[in-house]
Symmetry: C2
Subunit: 214 residues, 2 copies
């Protein structure tokens, strides 16, 4: 399975690219925003493509040639304003969904946010971010793609524990980015996760067992 | 027909409330954000309700009791940031759509923006605004509501001419807010406009004729 990682230079994206690169059953292509990022990846032997999420659906689709799955883990981040949250986290995500539909790349894993489906649980401080994730997820669920929506809690930079809790509606919690990346790998392995979405925080069940019991 | 005008204190909203108030075939309820705005309307004999578009779907639904139609012409405007564009123009609009569905108020007129359906035509300067309008419109079109989406060009404060041009894909243009309000009144009169959307700019055809020929 060849996986396009959209947002491969992000914090989750970097870990995910490494993990997929080390697994024999996967091939990976890293989609990044700049030539500089792409060159750094290529030097490490990673297939990389420069694509702007603010470009057209066709432009984004070109990055998917030969891929069997897409993981969307891009985000404009907190350093740019909410205008970029609209154009990247929402419109960039939906254009990626539309590109996958156009290219017939059915398998699509979206990295969303804990409780993005549930307005009552949105943190007021970054409510606009939840709005963007919410609508990207809704449009993905309305598509014919074989989606999985992974909704992690507060993201930590510490090493993963390998143990998580997943569920349809979890209370606030946190999770290391490494565990999010490992969960995505397991999701890609397990067809049972197709057309499912779940909240994700740290827990006491191994990632493979948690996904197997979804 | 009793019409709830959402965004009744906005520039189009104020003109629309006046027009509907003066037409015998319509009753109007003005939905506004503050008690002060509501009191000013009530003093002029207008039925007014205070409702926060950042509140729940149920809260917004309460404003619709006894109404037969909703016109959404609210917007966070340019004085607040793009975070409000997400929470008001997008999420506020969709919550209003969901409230109308929940309350069985089928007729829904959305004031959108010229070419909001067409990413290639979005002005880079306010691209985030187009993103918000685009997704609110998409979700409305996916609903079972009897919608009409009116997509005006650049909005002018000058008096209306009464003459417009409408079409599925128009080049950039402008239109007085008064003509937008008059077009909405005509849309509410004409069931032919159900499940239709159109761009709107100034032109040389009377509003009633343009809508009749849609």
């Amino acid at each position: 399975m060849k996986v396009l990682v959209v947002g491969a230079n992000g914090k989750i994206g970097r870990i995910l690219v490494n993990k997929l690169q080390n697994e024999k059953e996967f091939q990976v292509r890293a989609m990044v925003r700049s030539e500089e990022q792409a060159n750094a990846l290529k030097e490490r032997g990673v297939d990389a493509v420069v694509t702007d999420l603010e470009g057209t659906v066709e432009h984004i689709g070109n990055a998917m040639d030969g891929c069997d799955a897409v993981v969307f883990t891009a985000g404009s981040g907190s350093k740019t304003g909410p205008d970029k949250t609209l154009t990247v986290d929402l419109d960039g995500a939906v254009k990626t969904i539309e590109a996958a539909e156009a290219k017939g790349v059915k398998r699509f894993v979206m990295v969303s946010a804990l409780q993005a489906n549930n307005r009552e649980k949105w943190s007021m401080k970054i409510k606009h971010y939840y709005v963007a994730k919410h609508y990207a997820d809704r449009i993905l669920m309305d598509s014919d793609l074989d989606y999985t929506i992974v909704k992690p809690g507060a993201l930590l930079d510490e090493p993963g524990s390998g143990n998580i809790q997943i569920g349809e509606s979890l209370e606030r919690g946190s999770v290391p980015r490494e565990d999010v990346a490992s969960t995505i790998v397991e999701v890609l392995r397990n067809p049972k996760t197709v057309r499912r979405s779940f909240d994700l925080v740290s827990g006491d069940v191994s990632i493979s067992e948690a996904i197997a019991n979804l």
